[in-house]
Symmetry: C2
Subunit: 492 residues, 2 copies
């Protein structure tokens, strides 16, 4: 490695440390900060973001990137990732970045009111401005990267996957679902309704249980925290992961399964290669890869029959009362319930992809100039009708439900379903590699699964692109058949 | 204000935002961070400190400082403060800064063991290296500022006060104490022993009481937090102040009085001029000024007879039991007890200055080259004997007790006693300006005091130097007579 590479690596380490600081400050803002600190926190985060951008786009970085030489797989991948990040950071004129920041903030603010009032007209001009700038941004990224505009936006979330790859996968899933969903509903109806969990569910008992289970499935107390925030997330840094959740004293499922989901994200961060910490190659392989890790823990492992048996015992220990509702079979009925709903975040794993497919098609059309914001509510209703056979009663339960577009995030949605599919594929490979995986799950032990994921996913960091990562871990690129096979086994 | 000034102000705002981020990260490290995050936090803080130093010492800053023109009192003071900060930031060669960071960290680490084992020989070579570098640092600052080496170090903590001003103040106090202390002890003995508080003192009740009282004396819930850490402090930012304390279930006094002390610091931060936020002139007037604000709340207001009456009622409400020990007179006996001890942090307000005078003289001699580290234990014992008539039984209770020198902090100690003296002087002025001050204290109401401090201390930020601030608030520079008058009234 020559001097130019060494300088780039030193700069990357500093940039990453800056990013870690931002991550902790974001966590603090969501969990600890008194309300009155909000304006100052905005200044702090803006200063850090500004410094980071200046470091990334300083003239000597371009010179070093041109002159850098890397040896070996890791350093070569690292350099390629630096070049990609630099291409993106320098692709946008400052005026566009500033206009986007302002437009997103303004739209997001109005969106909160618009959603509460289910009044799309309120947010429409703001969303039009956001979209106009996103299209300009996509063009600028496209010019710098050689990708199509929509793919160039997707690259910001899940590099190395194109819309051309996603579209046939989604089309195939749509066809499968059209046939499978009615059958799953019929079977479910025949099995009868679940017994509701009796309660009460004191928040302090939930908190203890969530933390205990999060540690039980593999997180280390010395490297993590569990706190509360309005919107659950996993933040912090690889050696100091911060999970949050939100407790309802009426239903322990949301916090519990949510914490297990975030624990999957956290375990990925914990398993990233420490030798490459604070280098691009030491980061995760993207948002779809990240979502695959949360979903393999939550959906594949923790909602499996085997783990539900363990979980039922733990819940009964924590909350007492009649043991019958805590039987694995009843928990499966409760927590693996298929239902055609309007709300993505409440969707089951079978219909969830339909929500994503809808958004993927709409946002792709918007970025491509084929769908105007004014026509969004109609296109939404039509799309949902076609995918799930239902029509949203209002825009609050339609195109106003998600924050994403209203905050300028176009190109993110596919990651959710790519992650779900990758999770099924990885689980199948893990079961093959680790014979005792399901027997362990029955004891609440995820270590065989985790061993597989650490070696085959986490340890690669961002050295491999998403498809190469899937190939290395499972012997093939993303294959949605493993996902439908999983759904067939579980629901049909 | 010309363009050069505008650029400097913009840069200062960014630097301050960076400093705020560091402050929150420090708070997090002491209160929330899981242990495993320590190494990464070090990287994050080092990156922020490095960026801040680079911003401060960039070549165009010197050009702008030379060209800047400011109009009006605030901007002129701001520019002068920027020039001072720049002089200090550029005074030290990078190699010296790095050597100091390393030597301080190494010494501090060994000091922990040396203190635990009361083995000065263990830390001696490390402290020698720290001192050697501090002397070099003092020389470099002196050359840049025109101050004497020791004054140049003091300037880093409390600008605008010189050892030549401090020495006669301390000498006079020493003489006063020699006569007053035996009389106070005699009086105290005659009054008889206090009744100990009965307990128990559940930590959760203490936590609630501390937070409630902190808000009662003027802190706003929307702009503050109260948490726990091993060593209590006040951190955060002016709109988001973070107080910490440490609870013992055996004695509620330490946490309670500690929280009131930190609340004094916090109220100062809250009262700084918002119009000059994130500019040097909007900061506090230094460490002595800051200590005066914590001590005026804790020592002057909250340990007054008037406030103790209120506090006794609150404590009895919180912990119940026999009301007799919670009478104001008994609390005064408990919490205003004079005693010749070895440990500075446990000292009462009468003997505390003796501990500071000892350290001031020793560190001044060490920086001046008149006292070698090898001779420190002997000089310490001799000095304490002369000041308080007692001899430490070992170095753990002697020159190993404080972290300061072992972490490279020379020139800080005088601030404690300058602050105590300023607090007495400000309290006297406040009583004159606010007729109802003591009547309000009896109801647990600090608002008259706070009104005075906000207008006469907090609102000035760093526009006035320490002595000018005292003049503006009290009509005279620091006058230790007000402090001895306060002690005489309270103890004699």
């Amino acid at each position: 490695m020559n001097a130019a590479y060494q300088r780039l690596a030193a700069r990357a380490a500093r940039l990453a440390a800056l990013g870690e600081a931002q991550s902790i400050l974001h966590w603090d803002a969501s969990t600890m900060m008194p309300r009155g600190g909000g304006a100052a926190r905005g200044e702090q985060l803006a200063a850090l973001a500004g410094l980071g951008h200046e470091m990334m786009t300083a003239p000597d970085v371009a010179e070093d990137l041109a002159a850098a030489e890397a040896e070996g797989e890791w350093a070569s991948a690292n350099l390629a990732l630096m070049r990609r990040a630099h291409r993106r950071a320098t692709a946008l004129p400052t005026a566009l970045v500033e206009a986007t920041t302002r437009a997103n903030a303004a739209c997001e603010k109005v969106w909160r009111d618009a959603k509460a009032a289910s009044d799309f007209a309120l947010v429409r001009p703001f969303l039009e401005e956001v979209l106009r700038l996103q299209r300009e941004t996509a063009q600028a990224y496209a010019a710098a990267t050689g990708l199509s505009p929509y793919d160039a936006l997707m690259e910001g979330y899940q590099p190395g996957v194109t819309a051309a790859e996603v579209e046939p996968v989604f089309t195939a899933y749509e066809a499968w679902l059209r046939e499978a969903l009615p059958r799953a509903e019929e079977l479910q109806a025949r099995r009868g309704a679940p017994i509701p969990l009796p309660g009460p569910f004191p928040v302090s008992a939930q908190r203890d249980l969530c933390r205990r289970l999060s540690l039980r499935v593999g997180l280390e107390a010395e490297h993590s925290r569990l706190d509360e925030s309005l919107h659950p997330f996993c933040g912090g840094t690889p050696t100091d992961v911060r999970i949050t959740t939100f407790y309802s004293d009426k239903d322990p499922a949301k916090a519990l399964l949510g914490v297990l989901h975030e624990t999957g994200h956290a375990l990925y961060e914990r398993g990233l290669p420490a030798a490459h910490a604070r280098q691009p190659v030491g980061e995760s392989a993207g948002m779809a890869a990240h979502e695959s890790q949360s979903l393999i823990v939550e959906m594949q492992a923790c909602r499996s029959d085997a783990f539900l048996a363990f979980l039922g015992r733990e819940l009964h220990k924590a909350f007492g009362g009649d043991p019958a509702p805590y039987a694995a079979g009843n928990l499966a009925k409760l927590w693996r319930r298929v239902s055609r709903g309007f709300i993505r975040v409440d969707a089951d794993e079978m219909t969830y992809p339909a929500h994503v497919i809808l958004r993927f098609r709409l946002e792709r059309a918007m970025i491509g100039g084929d769908l105007a914001v004014a026509d969004l509510p109609g296109a939404w209703a039509e799309g949902l009708k076609s995918l799930l056979g239902i029509t949203p009663p209002d825009d609050a339960r339609g195109c106003l439900q998600d924050i994403h577009w209203h905050d300028g995030a176009f190109g993110y949605f596919p990651s959710y379903t790519l992650g779900a599919m990758a999770a099924a594929q990885l689980m199948k490979a893990a079961r093959k590699a680790e014979a005792g995986l399901d027997a362990a799950l029955e004891q609440g032990d995820l270590s065989p699964l985790l061993r597989f994921l650490r070696a085959n996913v986490h340890a690669h960091g961002a050295r491999l692109g998403f498809q190469d990562l899937m190939r290395a871990a499972t012997g093939k690129p993303l294959d949605p058949a493993d996902f439908t096979e999983h759904l067939t086994a579980r629901y049909l």
